[in-house]
Symmetry: C2
Subunit: 344 residues, 2 copies
């Protein structure tokens, strides 16, 4: 038949079996107090009649959407794909569905997404902020209504919202230190236009390392961009036009680092001999570009799983949710590759 048939409800099953809808509902949920025979009959009837449970109705009644929202800057990185795979694994096992949205690192889009997710009454939220985002007021409505929110990677400090991230200060310190021990003295840093907490932490680590090694911090070596690959190309031009060129560049993400490296090479600059490079994230591109890019690595899948677990815990556990949120530091490591090793 070409006209779609009417939706089959539990009432239809109830009528067919001459029992009440309540029993059907219970049987379908495998409620312990339903007779095993009835259960079997119901399940069979459901199958043969083509019944499909209507989540919308169930959700409304239970006042629970069974949906977790996840907001990220951009889906386009192996890191994010892994985070999502990890989160999805844990959440789907716990019976949740996922609504994923990318803000494209744009604050107003992030605000709209947050609104839509609120109206859909998500049961919880996993958020990695846009690079642009400078405050998290648009998530206050969730906090107010007691809807758990867990930040990951690009986090916002909030007494009620746990955040899982890496020690950005330390990782940036380590990588800067590495560049210094390779003999670099003029280390440029490419960071975000609007400095979010993550970019700020990395900037801090960079400055701290310089300080510890008695290298004066030089504002003119700091380049602010939107951290896209194209921005990296522009940054390369800025570097080429500097009166005194840097001997190393530490970029706060890999995408931008790769763009910058590629463009720099076009000027005949040798990497790492003339300018060493380091990035952040260990995206796939980092081990494809030549020379391979030194960077900071951390596991997206683990971060996603962990964030999801914390979130579920807060959803199920009012007492867990009531506790002050703590920051969780996930381990990270710097991966030294040829882009930064100045052999004799």
């Amino acid at each position: 038949m070409s006209i779609p048939d009417k939706e089959i409800t539990i009432y239809d099953i109830a009528k067919a079996l001459n029992i009440s809808a309540a029993t059907v509902s219970r049987a379908l949920m495998d409620h312990p107090s339903v007779n095993i025979n009835t259960k079997a009959k119901v399940q069979e009837a459901a199958k043969s009649m083509g019944y499909r449970s209507n989540q919308m109705a169930s959700n409304l009644r239970k006042r629970k959407s069974n949906i977790i929202g996840i907001i990220v800057g951009n889906l386009n990185s192996s890191f994010m794909s892994n985070v999502i795979a990890g989160a999805e694994k844990v959440l789907s096992e716990a019976g949740y569905n996922l609504i994923i949205s990318q803000s494209l690192d744009n604050v107003s889009k992030e605000i709209n997404i947050a609104q839509a997710m609120y109206n859909n009454r998500v049961d919880g939220l996993l958020v990695s902020l846009a690079y642009e985002t400078e405050n998290a007021d648009h998530f206050e409505s969730f906090v107010k209504r007691g809807i758990p929110l867990v930040y990951f990677d690009r986090v916002w400090p909030h007494p009620k919202c746990p955040g899982i991230e890496i020690d950005n200060v330390k990782a940036a310190y380590d990588i800067t230190e590495h560049l210094i021990t390779q003999g670099c003295k003029r280390i440029a840093h490419i960071t975000a236009f609007k400095i979010s907490s993550v970019a700020a932490d990395r900037f801090t680590g960079y400055k701290k390392a310089l300080e510890d090694y008695n290298i004066p911090f030089n504002e003119s070596l700091v380049i602010k961009t939107d951290l896209t690959m194209n921005a990296g190309i522009d940054a390369a031009h800025q570097i080429m036009n500097m009166e005194e060129r840097p001997d190393a560049v530490f970029v706060t993400n890999d995408a931008c680092a790769v763009g910058c490296m590629q463009e720099t090479k076009k000027f005949g600059i040798r990497i790492p001999q003339d300018i060493a490079f380091a990035g952040f994230n260990n995206d796939t591109e980092a081990s494809i570009i030549e020379p391979n890019l030194t960077t900071v690595n951390y596991r997206g899948d683990i971060m996603g799983e962990e964030a999801a677990r914390i979130l579920i815990d807060r959803i199920n556990n009012a007492s867990a949710a009531a506790q002050p949120a703590k920051k969780i530091m996930q381990k990270s490591e710097i991966i030294i590759r040829d882009s930064s090793v100045k052999r004799k």
Copy 2:
């Protein structure tokens, strides 16, 4: 207050304003027949009372979830990120929310996702199949209930489901022809284990080009893999172990091509002189690897927008949905880069 307050409903607003809930509902939806003053009063009250519309209830009542499901193999590519950005743009303008899931190119996961989306009563579905998928039975329930489904990129031919894709046969033909005109005679082809319609089309294009140029098709030059980057590494070993090595490799996607190229280079093989390479998709990696990878390019954002538009049309338009679904061919182009150009 720390305990979340009770949810504010239209009844609360109605009571506060001494009007009926129906009027509140209408005012909130900006229904034309509501007095402009009442509208203003309602909107103000809603704001001051902290009212947030409950989509779950609205959805149930309207029997419309306002949700579009989108299923892809993997989110981790610039192409997919662009498709999603394109689709999201069109869909959010039309008032829809998106549930995105990645099958990780695994059929059983794809089946589960389809189930969950059905139960959530998505209003429509955008699907790019897993590489593994060999039939689309798990989407029949949508078709039966008249829920519009539009395939994109990795499509399945179905009389009721439009598909938007590129001419894979032609693109593969063109790229193979290009390799032939560069003087290649032994062209290997790396394709999927389970040959889906997309991989099959590309395989067909490859064979057709060989035939037209009187190069006998050689089964031993066909390598079947799961098309990941790691699979490309394995494929490189297979190639190195061949008694008579190929002088070109056409891989059915870029990720696998890049893995294969990198590993091949480690054997001291010169690209393109010893072995030329070509991929498919124009992922970011293709223009990062050295030499840059010849590939097939097509716009993800446009594909996403177009697929979304067709879907919305079918949702709003029973007559559009009733028409036999046509295939839409989006334009694509081959991008010739250094990985395949054998200069004199």
